[in-house]
Amino acid sequence: MPLCVYAINREFAKLGCVEEFKFDLSTGEAIIVYNDSICGLNDVYRGVRNAGYDVVKEVAVFVVEDLDTGLASYIEKRLCKTTGIFDCISSISTSTVKVVYNPYTLSSSDVEKIFSGLGVGFRKLLEESIARGKAFEKSSLLRRVLSFSIGVAVVSIAIASMLMNIHISYNYVYYLAIASSVVIALNYDILRRGFAALARLSPTMDSLVSLSTTISFLFGLASLLGVAPKGSGLSTESFFEASAGVLGFVGFGLYLEERIRRSAWSSVEDLVKRLYSKARVVVGDKVVEVDAEKVSPESIVEIRAGEIIPVDGVVVDGDGYVDESSFTGEPLPVHKSAKTRDPVLAGTILVSGYLRVRATRVGRETMLYRIIETIREAQFYKPKALRVADKFVGVFTWLVIALGISVLLYWGIIVSDFAKAIMFTATVFATACPCAIGIAVPMAVSIAVVAASRKGVVIRRGDVFDRLLESSTIIFDKTGTLTIGKPHVENIWIVNNTVDEKTLLFYICSVESRSEHPIAKAVTDFCKDKGVETGDVEEFNHFPGLGVVGIINNSTVSIGNMELLKRMGVEEMEKLEKIDDIISSKGSTPVLVALNNSLVAVIEVSDRLRPEAEKVVRYLKSLGYRIGIASGDVKGSVERYAKALQLDFYRYELKPLEKTELVKEIQSKGEKILYVGDGVNDAATISVAHVGVAMGGGADVSKEAGDVVLTSNKLSDLVFIIELSKKVRRKFLENIAWAFIYNIALLPIAAGVFYSHGVFMRPEMGAAAMILSDVSVVLNSLRLLKQSTSSSI
């Protein structure tokens, strides 16, 4: 870990809690003394990361049984206080907890030991179950359905007998007691979890359900044995049916919720399955079948029609149509052929034809793996609203327990009706489940992330939706963002005949063939058309925002902008002015070529505006965003595009670092910037912006860039994602409102406030209402998936 300690110190100064920072250069080890009353180890860890360094760390992911908001914040709080654990983040929608720890302090078995000390059911997540959530148990389905049926039967029989005023025999009460016991036995897991949470002093919705059930069941039992205090107006068997009803409804509701969540995740699981396909590798004359992840790069893989392409690579033989919809959202298959050396991605499907592909990236290096990983990472991110919701649920549960106790005391002592006291307390517990509030936000975010990924938009952080709506200014990179990004060479102007044209083209083509830049691509395409050969380049160097420099046949060839040539010490720039004027008046870009530090040629490169750019910009302006360009291109070209699109401002001839500075500078004035760049050159700028959007055809999206990655490479998806954010925000609010309406409307009735008017609820009715609120939140969120397929542009 080579280290410029200065950068880290600066981050620590921001935190204000680091008291001492000792660093040993030879081992790369650092000792940081911090004040843990101000910040935690996770803050220090993030500080080091913000400074651009990483710490040696290991990550363990655990699947926790039935993780809910209360349990999640309890685990996070406990783990973050443990020495050696850098960070701990939970994801409720996948029931997983990610622990980032220091392998010098803790071993992986230590982490497991700490985890088991928390007293929760868990198992360690293995690689192959990446992105998979709870294990889908058939036995759980059977248990839930059975307990629901018995619960409903018991409740209906009890209501029927009450309505018809049938005298209750002792045998009948025994039957109720047995039925209720069966229901309780079938849902033992809910009770176990509920009381465990209560014992940890962090009660959850399960705790409330458990309290409700246990109170009513025990009171029923006491009545049956004749030891319960007598009450009025209520028959004792009501308490058995109440406990059976509550658990029957709750268990079934949990099951339904789980089913719906799973269906939302199925599109991601479908992608995961593709990761573990088989590949047929061509070895000499034979074809050998191996696991896709074990294919070595550079080997040739055979794919037949109807098969999933197992590796990222380049087509070297055959042709066919490939369905790339899971990456780009584009429904029409794309033609791929060996002639044009088209790239293909692992996880796409060869619809027809036959391909042989040379693998360039396999297993964890593939685009598919990265997309799945980013979807999973996004699940771990907690937006601000979610943290607030977490805290609220924690407090709310205590409030309900307090309310339950008050109800018990009021009806039991002041009214002296112990049966009613028990019933109303049980009803309060069963009704006031905060689970709908707890799942409202994560549900909407998770589903939006999945919805976006189906359209070819990868969301890397859960709070992107919030941030997009907070942004006030949008800055676009030009090349590859507002323009198609496939520039082509219009002309090569030779300004100095020190070498003949053929040699000069040979030099230019050789150097540019080493570069990945879009302009270099334009030049190499030009070279191929002209049939120019290329040779070996020594000491090739690429300077982002400037150009490239290479040595060939002992000649130094510099290709780039004015700044590069100035820095290389090239003078005689006055020759250039006339050509520069001609080129930039056309909106093209001049690329300068120097040989041994004297100017020899100017390459005229031009690009076209994306067809949808104008519509997208107009729409974004109508939403009130200020819009500008920050480009590395020359003034003439940038100015022309900025005017054509009627942008608010434009900056030109910026190096990547200057773009970063520009974004930082505008943000320091309190504006929040949405930066859209091409992901390769703009990685740093994308990372400092309030929201960074990386555009790019699937193949070249860099791993680090972007809170949002538009793998579809469609500018119009920017509009899609902003609209989706608005929908997500609306869902948050709707979900929270739903949850509140149920709770606030029903609690007074549950507490027996209107009993004298004949309006009251029994525990099982409360449970049914609660499940209704829970399911309505899930269904409401799920509508995001359907709606997101349409977009205004």
Partner: protein
């Protein structure tokens, strides 16, 4: 193979391995980190006349 030294912090840098580099006054400079490159870009003359500042 000449030794390349990061002009900001003074560390020896392998030009083949680093991605942080820039060109100034006809010469190529290599850096150990993004931070050093940024520092250099802000004020190249300072580091070329004063030499590396060393570690803090």
């Amino acid at each position: 193979m000449p030794e390349y030294v990061d002009p900001v912090c003074g560390m020896v840098v392998d030009p083949k391995k680093t991605t942080y580099k820039t060109v100034y006054r006809g010469r190529i400079y290599y850096f150990c980190s993004k931070h050093c490159l940024e520092e250099f870009e802000k004020n190249p003359e300072y580091y070329l006349t004063h030499g590396p500042r060393g570690m803090h």
